[in-house]
Amino acid sequence: MSKAASQSRADWTFKVITAACALVVIVLMGGILVELLRNSGMSIRQFGFGFLTSTEWNPYAGEFGAASSIFGTVVSTAIAMLLAVPLSLIIAIYLVEVAHPKASRIIGGGIELLAAVPSIIYGMWGLFVFAALMQEHVQPWLGKYFGFLPLFQGPPMGIGMLTAGLILTLMVLPFITAVTRDVLQMVPPVLKESAHGVGATMWEATRHIALKYGRRGIVGAVFLGFGRALGETMAVTFVIGNSHRISSSLFDAGNTIASSLANEFNEASEPIYLSSLFELALVLFLLTLLFQTAAHFWVSRMQRQEAGDR
């Protein structure tokens, strides 16, 4: 073979090998879906759609339903988003518009470090430090002044839905803050300067110009944060209490899909039990896929619109 031919053969091989490795990612995602579907088959056939609405969770009797896990996942994530999004916005605005550059770098760096702390460390701190605080001070206070609401009734245990939601807030906060900060930093200075030029205050310029400009990126970040909070496992498992009951009180123990999987997967030797847990995993997988896809298309629509605007 001529040198040129063998060279192009080598190049072709190189391209194929690298392409194959790239394909691995797609194969993996497909594989995850396939394995989850396969192993939840028994549970899907037995419980049908009722699985999603049933609050039964009786391993002894072989009756399973995802309702309490879905409820817990949604509630804990909702608490986290309700608290983290406004807080992240405020912090990001502060970092970009108000803070002294050095302070911005230090606080920004601290936020990034918070994001790097592994979930299990949040769990440890949550269980041993934060839960004690909740039980001794926060929950009794809430019960005393807001106990007329069913949300804050019941004995203060320290662990439970509220604590799990708060820990999730701390975990999602750095992520949304970082992305929002990046989005705000991309606002063309000329826009802000024009606003200041006509006499707008920092707050007005931010509210009416910067946030409006970056709103799609921010929404995308929120979607992504939502997706991550849904699947957060260790931090929540430590403090949520593992109860399959749906309760109106945030002081009560509960469970999320991820915490149920972490707590029960290894002990489910009965085929239907294991299959139901696989089905829970499938539900979580599809939920996170949904949010990520939504985020992706939202952001790409924003990018196309921006390109069109220009």
């Binding site: 405020i90 790097a116 702390v117 041993f128 496992t233 260790m234 997988f285």
Partner: protein, 283 residues
Amino acid sequence: MRPRSHTARRLADRSARIVMVPAALIGLTVLAWILWEVIARGAGALNASFFTELPTPPGMEGGGLANAIVGTLLMTVLATVIGTPVGLLAGIYLAEFGTTSRLATAVRFTTNLLMGTPSIIIGIFVYALIVLRTGHFSGWAGAVSLAILMLPVVLRTTEDMLNLVPDELRESALALGAPRWRATVTVIFRAAKTGLVTGILLAVARVSGETAPLLFTALNSFYWPETINEPTANLTVTIFNYAMSPYADWQQKAWGASLLITVGVLFVAVLSRFVLKERKSRA
């Protein structure tokens, strides 16, 4: 904008500024608090026996987590060996061949999805794939699940780093007659070396703190990992088990292990981010 009085607008601005400071400090405060607790509670557990002895039953004096440290290191190294080459090659494909191909777009989208997939789902996937089929837990199943977590991170950073290499460099290499693969592997790699290594380091930092995937693959063990074809001790699952137990000595060991992991992960994260920023600003 609704016309409002000058004072009202100034008040709004000032209130916003006042609210922002404590909000921003929340992040720093929580970080400092967590680090403080981890250090304060964990330092006491990190004595010589922690690093050299096997776990003892609760209530028995002494004992350590030497096997868990070895197990974590073993599985992390194995995961790196499995996941890095695939990630590197895939990143090369995206950067060098795939700027417009449909495969590349699909891969990029899927990589984002994979990155956002909860690690517990990855663990359950590997459980179904390997543990169910082999009939037992194993350290190499754990390594595979960690490798899957590392893959998209390595892929992304490789693509980003390679994209930073100026096209002129590529063209010069090719103009000198080097075949495509040679050009990529020698010239471009060398140019992007720092970025690639730190990308791998970032991925390693991320997976060494993971618990959920190991729960269903490597499980845990009280003994030395003699082979990777059996349940393998590791720090994160140990922390999970010990923390949920009622035993004060186990809880303290859990804090010690937490300190070890936190220091390791943060150190690598800070280091690699610092080096990455340098690299990006230089390019």
